[in-house]
Point group: C2
Chain length 174, copies 2
């Protein structure tokens, strides 16, 4: 009996600690973006990497796509549609040649991430809340401020092209 | 007295669990690379993102530089030299045009990560063990197998160019 009590205390203490250590993905900071009401998820910069890309043209950036734990798990298990709670983040930085790296490689070939550019974008899966847009809420923030409604009106019409992949363009880079 | 005993059990139980949950950065998988004896750190694909880059030429890749907790902390705090235990990983994937993205953007501009290429590289900080190479051990693995000694002989001579930044080329992308 005493052992059971001891074990119970240990488990309860443990549960409290585990809860306090859990990522607070239910909370979000700052102003909500229009249409979908998405806020910047806390600590998204700590999320794991899904893949990387380079856009030429006006965008002219190097970008990283990160996922929260739910998104990464779904990617790795090939689970589609993504479960509710999945969030995918798109970060981007200016595409700049690296003189330093070019000297090291002995030829001009190296491009690295400069200052952040083109805002930060998020896709948030909530199949009930965002039922009319494939279960995804979309948001873009420029310098921490939500982009305007016109920008947010363009998200789904483009992502609809990849409806067969649950509206997500990015593939996981192993 | 009983409360103290209960608390003690809880703390001990907790300590056991925390230890078992801790990243086993002391353990590494597979064959050790030549010269520096570095093994592939477990779960490095889960590490946080330091930055991204694109190399043209023979390399022709998109790359991501990830860091373990010690490395990320040092980067964010601007701490140099990096403390012992810091590990930096360089992953790379083939640089491939994305027809799908190009259609979405309405012009050929999008390049994404294809299959992995150019191996995976690591820099491991151990100021005593690697005293003769700036405190860093270097390793490259191709398809999970260490590259040969000749490859490993080229690492430090190149990284020496950025001695003033503790021999690390990559800057942190905020």
């Amino acid at each position: 009996m005493r052992r059971i009590a001891l074990l119970l205390v240990a488990v309860v203490t443990l549960a409290g600690v585990v809860v306090s250590m859990a990522p607070s993905s239910g909370h979000a900071d700052g102003e909500a973006a229009p249409i979908f009401g998405v806020k910047i998820p806390p600590r998204y910069r700590d999320w794991r990497l899904i893949s990387v890309a380079h856009e030429e043209g006006n965008l002219n950036d190097l970008r990283a796509i990160l996922g929260n734990d739910v998104a990464i798990k779904a990617y790795r298990e090939g689970k589609r549609p993504f479960p509710d709670g999945a969030i995918i983040a798109r970060l981007a930085w200016s595409y700049v040649p690296s003189e330093e790296n070019n000297k090291a490689f002995g030829r001009p070939q190296s491009f690295v991430a400069g200052p952040p550019t083109n805002g930060v974008q998020f896709m948030v899966k909530d199949s009930r809340k965002y039922a009319s847009t494939g279960g995804w809420g979309f948001a873009q923030f420029n310098d921490g401020k939500p982009a305007d409604e016109a920008v947010h009106n363009t998200c789904f019409s483009c992502h609809e092209r990849v409806k067969d992949r649950d509206f997500v363009f990015t593939h996981y880079a192993p």
